[in-house]
């Protein structure tokens, strides 16, 4: 008899890049975030191969427990904001969005602020 919660048998898998895309969108949507920092290796890959999924974000699946994921975000923030507050907002938003859209459980969201940039137009400041 088929399981009513899982009627179709088979495996479901998600790539790290797929999860990272949601994390990137969530991080970039947080107020006070200018961009995400990419490593030189990712920039080289983008130049040679094309688009890199989820740049500025590292995603690790927990090998011991299924459906657990660890995310590290490398944001560049706007000058004039309290950095820990923005970082905390990023953590919450990334955790909520990834859990909501992928069904995975987020074990940890680490934020490493890579840089601060000044806003070009002071009128745009929130």
């Amino acid at each position: 008899m088929p399981d009513p919660l899982n009627p179709t048998k088979g495996d479901r898998s998600m790539t790290q890049g797929f999860v990272a895309q949601y994390a990137v969108e969530a991080a970039l949507g947080t107020p006070g975030v200018y961009d995400l920092d990419t490593t030189p290796l990712v920039s080289l890959k983008e130049t040679l191969v094309g688009e890199h999924e989820g740049k500025g974000v590292l995603v690790y699946f927990n090998d011991a427990k299924e459906n657990l994921v660890n995310i590290t975000v490398f944001p560049i923030l706007y000058y004039g904001n309290v950095l820990p507050e923005i970082a905390w907002n990023i953590q919450e938003r990334v955790k909520n969005d990834v859990e909501k859209y992928t069904g995975l459980m987020v074990e940890s969201v680490n934020v490493h602020v890579k840089g601060v940039v000044a806003r070009e137009d002071p009128a745009k400041q929130k």
């Binding site: 919450e92 969201v109 601060v116």
Partner: protein, 183 residues
């Protein structure tokens, strides 16, 4: 200090002292130079010793590189952990803190033309910020630099939450304000 680097430094100091003793002996006695040459030539002529020397030299090269990198990076901070919560940790990179220092210096309107900022670790989890600035000539340096120091300290603590031990401002050059007259 990293244990591997410490070991490498001890090994290097020992190798250098042996090398300096051999150099002194060879300089004083020329026949020792010839003896040393024949010993080394004998080693290299033997196939097995040749590979041992190549592997040993390769290790020495890697050790030198690691010490060079360590020497260049020592004293420079990498990141500062601001807080950890149940979701994860929050780190602020040294570049971000240096960017705060630069932006503060530029927006302080104290006659700074260009500036470079460095941040170093200090005691009790505090940091030390260094600003090297090129100023315009019409700036009252003591008053304005005191203002910049104060503002940098306040801004770092306010925006990053990291306590600042001290702020050092170095005036590297003063540039004249020249007006160009177009003909």
């Amino acid at each position: 200090m990293n244990r591997l680097i410490r070991f490498a430094l001890i090994f290097y100091a020992f190798a250098l002292s042996v090398f300096s003793v051999i150099s002194i002996i060879v300089a004083l006695n020329r026949s020792m130079l010839e003896a040393l040459y024949f010993v080394l030539y004998g080693f290299i002529s033997t196939a097995s010793f040749k590979w041992i020397i190549i592997v040993f030299s390769g290790f020495l090269f890697l050790f030198s590189l690691s010490i060079l990198v360590y020497g260049l990076q020592s004293g420079r901070m990498h990141k500062t952990r601001v807080r950890s919560n149940d979701i994860g940790s929050i780190d602020i990179g040294v570049d971000a803190i240096e960017n705060i220092v630069l932006n503060t210096a530029k927006t302080s309107q104290c006659g700074i033309k260009t500036a470079k900022a460095r941040v170093y670790p200090a005691r009790n989890g505090r940091i030390r910020a260094e600003l090297s600035a090129v100023l315009y000539s019409d700036v009252e340096i003591p008053a304005m630099m005191a203002k910049v120091q104060d503002k940098i300290k306040k801004d770092i603590e306010r925006y990053s939450g990291i306590p600042v031990d001290k702020v050092v401002v170095k005036v590297s050059r003063v540039e004249n304000i020249t007006t160009k007259v177009e003909r």
